[in-house]
């Protein structure tokens, strides 16, 4: 779920950019260290980014009847770790903004924060916690994928609510409005994405 260009006031754009930058720089450093030691990882990282982009352009049949686009950041976080996802996710968002007009440039910081930072970290945290509680693999994967999606959606709603607080009920009211509006599409999508993760693991073990 991307915040479109122009939707956030200038100060908010700057603030989210400032909040995202350290994570992205940290991720970029991690990538630089990796590819200096293992140049072959460049290809794998590029393929992972390209895969994320392609999957985000594919339609999945969804429960609500309309088709939905999975984000895949949960899977990426589990496989590649969140710092790398912060960098790759930023690239993906940049590509989406300039190839598809999906998202935007001034809203890049905000989108990076929700999709490439909070989503992956939440997924990674849930996955590790579930694994530590010796949950079965399918359950850990389901939770990681679903939580990445839900966390992204919650942060996006918060970002919009902060920018546009409700005149009477303030931030809380605005947050409820945005959460409720996007819940229609995002909650089924989160479930679908969790299922996708589970089935994907099944596919990969058989293939």
């Amino acid at each position: 779920m991307h915040i479109a260009e122009g939707m956030l006031p200038p100060l908010h754009c700057a603030a989210w950019l400032a909040a995202s930058t350290p994570f992205v720089v940290h991720g970029a450093r991690a990538v630089l260290t990796t590819v200096r030691e293992h140049p072959e990882r460049k290809l794998i990282l590029a393929a992972a980014g390209a895969f994320t982009l392609v999957v985000s352009a594919l339609k999945l049949p969804s429960i609500t009847g309309s088709s939905s686009h999975p984000t895949g950041t949960g899977l990426g976080a589990v496989l590649l770790r969140p710092p790398v996802m912060a960098f790759l996710g930023t690239l993906v968002l940049l590509f989406q903004a300039t190839l598809l007009a999906h998202g935007g440039l001034t809203t890049l910081g905000a989108n990076v924060f929700s999709m490439a930072i909070v989503g992956p970290w939440a997924a990674y945290g849930v996955y590790r916690a579930a694994s530590r509680l010796s949950a079965p693999l399918w359950a850990s994967v389901f939770l990681a994928m679903a939580v990445a999606n839900i966390a992204t959606y919650a942060v996006t709603s918060l970002q919009l609510a902060l920018a546009y607080p409700d005149p009477t009920s303030g931030l809380g009211g605005a947050l409820v409005k945005f959460l409720a509006l996007f819940a229609v599409t995002q909650v089924p999508l989160a479930v679908a994405e969790g299922l996708l993760g589970v089935l994907l693991v099944g596919f990969l073990t058989r293939a």
Binding site: G6, V35, A47, G49, F51, L58, L196
Partner: protein, 247 residues
């Protein structure tokens, strides 16, 4: 949607603005985006939206159908995103004139900003932007990852689209939801395996060409159009002056 992935990029490669220096295009688009954001919706956003459209359809010679097709999805999201602004939550929900105005203003900023970004997207291939960033000091290995991603994107995309068409040809669309979801996941898994295979094979293929640590290539040289820079600056200044006059 998937059609647009290549449509914007194709237009950017083929259009007459491809040859204009990237820095100038980035500068113009950035100035327009910021103007859309910083000036009042009337007349700032309106002027930015108009200027972006005129530039795309005029000198940059982008097909109107393409602009419409690409602008539509973000527009839909903008409209949906603006709805809550029109509604107030107090004791129940209330639509107010004030809220409607706020929603309309956000919509105006959004449409103008989106069109300004599209001006860059439809005239400048992503890789040109990456090359420009390289000259601005972004470390080479990071940009190489981005460039490889750009190349692999098209390789994987064509396979993924063919895979979807092949599923449809075998009546994939007629299966019950459960099986449709399942085959969609199998498709995603196949593309994932393909990504891995493509990456390792490209690695091997590049090693044969002498790849060890870096991937140096010649960079396309853009033509700096002096008058273009001046006209762009004049345009943005003009919009600001108009806003000041209205205020």
């Amino acid at each position: 949607m998937s059609v647009h992935v290549t449509a914007v990029d194709d237009a950017a490669w083929a259009g007459p603005w491809r040859r204009i220096a990237v820095g100038h295009k980035v500068g113009l688009a950035a100035a327009l985006v910021l103007t859309a954001l910083l000036t009042p919706a009337w007349p700032g956003s309106l002027l930015v939206a108009g200027a972006s459209l005129v530039l795309m359809l005029g000198p940059a010679r982008i097909r109107p159908g393409l602009v419409a097709a690409v602008a539509l999805p973000p527009l839909a999201f903008l409209v949906v995103g603006a709805l809550p602004l029109a509604v107030e939550v107090g004791d129940g929900l209330r639509v107010t004139a004030e809220g409607g105005l706020r929603a309309a203003e956000m919509l105006a900023h959004g449409v103008a900003g989106t069109l300004a970004v599209l001006l860059l997207a439809t005239t400048t291939p992503m890789v040109d932007v990456l090359g420009w960033l390289h000259r601005r000091g972004i470390p080479g290995p990071l940009l190489e990852v981005a460039e490889l991603m750009y190349r692999l994107l098209f390789v994987l995309l064509s396979s993924a689209l063919a895979l979807q068409a092949a599923q449809a040809a075998r009546l994939g669309g007629d299966a019950p939801l459960r099986r449709r979801f399942r085959s969609a996941v199998d498709g995603v898994g196949t593309v994932l395996l393909m990504s891995w295979r493509r990456a390792t094979r490209l690695q091997a293929g590049l090693e044969l060409r002498g790849y060890e640590e870096s991937l140096p290539t010649l960079r396309p040289v853009g033509r700096a159009g002096g008058w273009g820079l001046g006209a762009g600056a004049a345009l943005v200044v003009g919009i600001w002056l108009a806003c000041w006059a209205v205020a």
